[in-house]
Amino acid sequence: MTVELQVDEGWLTVCELSELVPGRGVAALLPDGSQAAVFLDRKGRPYAITNRDPFTGAYVLSRGLLGTAEGRTFVASPLLKQRFDLETGRCLDDEEVAVRTYPVRTAATSV
């Protein structure tokens, strides 16, 4: 199985599903030079948001820890610990801030 991300150019293969550790993330370089953070939760569901932490500008969200708050899966930024809902991109600690999310899916590995 591979993990794929939808960008302007279509579905982009990011990595093998087995490369993702549940509860953690990885960063992916996108064709336009921007960066996405791709995560897997405990139930095996993938998520993708931008890798840029809007509070510090650093490209580090992929290195945050996942968690669940009121049934929603979030990632906590490793720098100043603000949490972002992985489905909507909304910041749970500051309602004025949100990050972009990307559609993401798993697909059978094409040879």
């Binding site: 953690r24 030079g33 921007s34 840029r52 580090v60 968690g67 490793p78």
Partner: protein
Amino acid sequence: MAAATPTPTPAIVLIGHGMVGQRYLEALAERGATATHRITVLCEEPRPAYDRVHLTSYFSGSTPEDLSMTPASFMEDHGITLHLDDPAETIDREARTVTSRSGRVFPYDVLVLATGSYPFVPPVPGKDAPGCFVYRTIEDLLAIEEYAKTRTSGAVVGGGLLGLEAAGALQGLGLATRIVEFAPRLMPAQVDEGGGAALLRTIQNMGLTVHTGVGTQEVVTGDDGSVTGMKLSDGSTVSTELVVFSAGVRPRDQLARESGLSVGERGGIAVDAHCRTSDPHVYAIGECALAADGRVYGLVAPGYEMAETAAEDLLGREKEFTGADLSTKLKLLGVDVASFGDAHGATAGSLDVVYSDSRSGVYKKVVVSSEGVLLGGVLVGDADSYGLLRPLTGSVPPVTPEQLVLPAGAGAPVALGPASLPDTAVICSCHNVTKKAITAHATVPEVKKCTKAGTGCGSCLKVIGQLMPPAADKGLCDCFAFTRAELYEIVRTLRVSSYQQLLDSHGREGARGGDGCELCKPTIGSIIASLAPTLGASGYVLDGEQAALQDTNDHFLANMQRNGSYSVVPRIPGGEITPDKLIVIGEVARDFGLYTKITGGQRIDLFGASVDQLPRIWARLVDAGFESGHAYGKALRTVKSCVGQTWCRYGVQDSVRMAIDLELRYRGLRAPHKLKSAVSGCARECAEAQSKDFGVIATASGWNLYVGGNGGATPRHADLLAQDLSDAELIRLIDRFLMFYIRTADRLERTSTWLERLEGGLGHLRDVVVHDSLGLCAELESLMADHVAHYRDEWAETLEDPERLRRFVSFVNAPGAPDPTVKFVPERDQVKPDLTILTLEPVGSLGGTR
């Protein structure tokens, strides 16, 4: 009704939008009066009201926005019109209009003057030269900051409380700072002679130069007209490039004066007990007012009281302001200074009880009447008891006066807590809130919201916290209802070695089956790691499920910096290093382009490594016999040492060897918070062991062990746990101490706070770890033996495993590619993060909406 209200919606004009002006608006809003009045505010400053009391915090990172006291939508929500940057210029009391600088005319039914005061600048030659400033507004601070950038020295005229604050700010800006005070002591208005002496010593120890008993006669200027020095009244001349005048404030009563309102002989707009001026349509409140008791109050609490009084009076309600308490507690230059009640012992027949310790700069005095009633006091250097003493003023305290001033631990223990205060005691003097009003609420945030207590100077917060019932939910986080110590016991006795298993079996109902959170994951990861050998779990922190639990730094085995790069801090046990190893560190830094800095912990930090460089850097270090150390992680950091007996003429033991032994023994030990240690070779204490979680000081016959010390934001001196220990006894005792701490402390609780909280305190700790009163020692020792036996070098181990190394790439889909956002720019012959890249919106504006 105080003022005639001829029109259906009477117009209120408020002149001055400072702290008291804003409080007045809030008081009106709380009473619904904003709905029934048309309110216009004329504000001279370019920004709405802000917290002038905490002005100085601008220099420690608060932004002007942080200091703002006006919630964004306040004016709009209450239909108030605010004119910034447009001061009132004239008042026509006949026509009842105010004209502003921009020429606008505002009719009023009620006029409120809250114009505050202005800094008094003594009329000395040169006082207006470039380089002379006052200290009152955010604009003043911005100007000082700008001017100081290219200067190296500064002076403050005036050693009162504002002067000391200004001096602290100048020193913080990197200027060599002096204070010139006309009176024979610092803070003459607040403290007595003894307090002034304690303050002087402490301030001199901080590197400030203090001149007391001399006046400033002239500001000397150079060729370009800017400040170069000051001539003092003792004939001397001192050099300085910047002068801040802080010689007192004067009420801003000019507008009132010009419009024919009565003003006091020495200034201040005269008001009655309802804050009405000589014209019944006009009120004056705050620092510009001369209160009915004949005083001008230069503090914010009385101003707030006046704001409430004027608001009540407007609505025809009975409230009087007849004077206020001048108690203050301040932290000036890091020194606590407090005075309350009759601090100078002016009451006839009053008696003083004084405690003074010039070594530690502590001075405490209480003034009592012959009947034992507490009248007032002065506290310098240690003002912890202020929150209790001030409310007790006017009553006979439940303990003797000596007990009120003796430091904790000296003499008889003081059984005095907030519980002993009467219900009527005023706990928050800024907002005049009593103990009764506070204890009606269950949490500090609730108290702040409902009573405003604690939202002024904040000095009452400690006592408020002590008055709150213990939190009902002591749970670690939203996932677990257990404390860290309880979870430790669960993991240990049920031998749970999986976080998910623990979450599903012992988590809160709603959290089971979920992903947990960023608080409990690392905490439980740490508990499992410190019990790993006992649980039969892997000790390697990145194995299996453990990997997903670690904070980012532990996950990458290095410290993340602000631009997403990492720092590497090679372990240098005891601070001892060979020239060859020093050279290797230099070579590694040079080859990878890293910024190097000597840390505060006797190590060398290499900053600016990208994720993919980390393994290559470790490999070089491991080859040279280093291990990368923990500067991250809730684990042992460094064991500092002094050079000790081997070289130092005073040393009585080999402190370096002991420090190395301790560092190697406890490295890698996971704990509730980080652990620091130090070993000094004699009582001169060059290694600062008494500020460490466990500190060791050599004696002629062995070692003294101190525990529970802390530097950081809330420093604490360590307590002596045991004396004259042999090497083996010392190590055994530290083993027990550390394991007992790991077992019972809360998440992120350093040994200092843990020891303060521990029931029975040091005595209990000694019983448990020295006298084995709980029969735990054998187990504690064996846990530590397991730790030592199973220690592994996490970095070397990571290097050996290609699977593990795969994580160290910037991008999972482009393993060789460097992260283009991790860039550096030159600074002082090295590099620093290029932060401008991070401020750019990412390509295609894909980033956050911030």
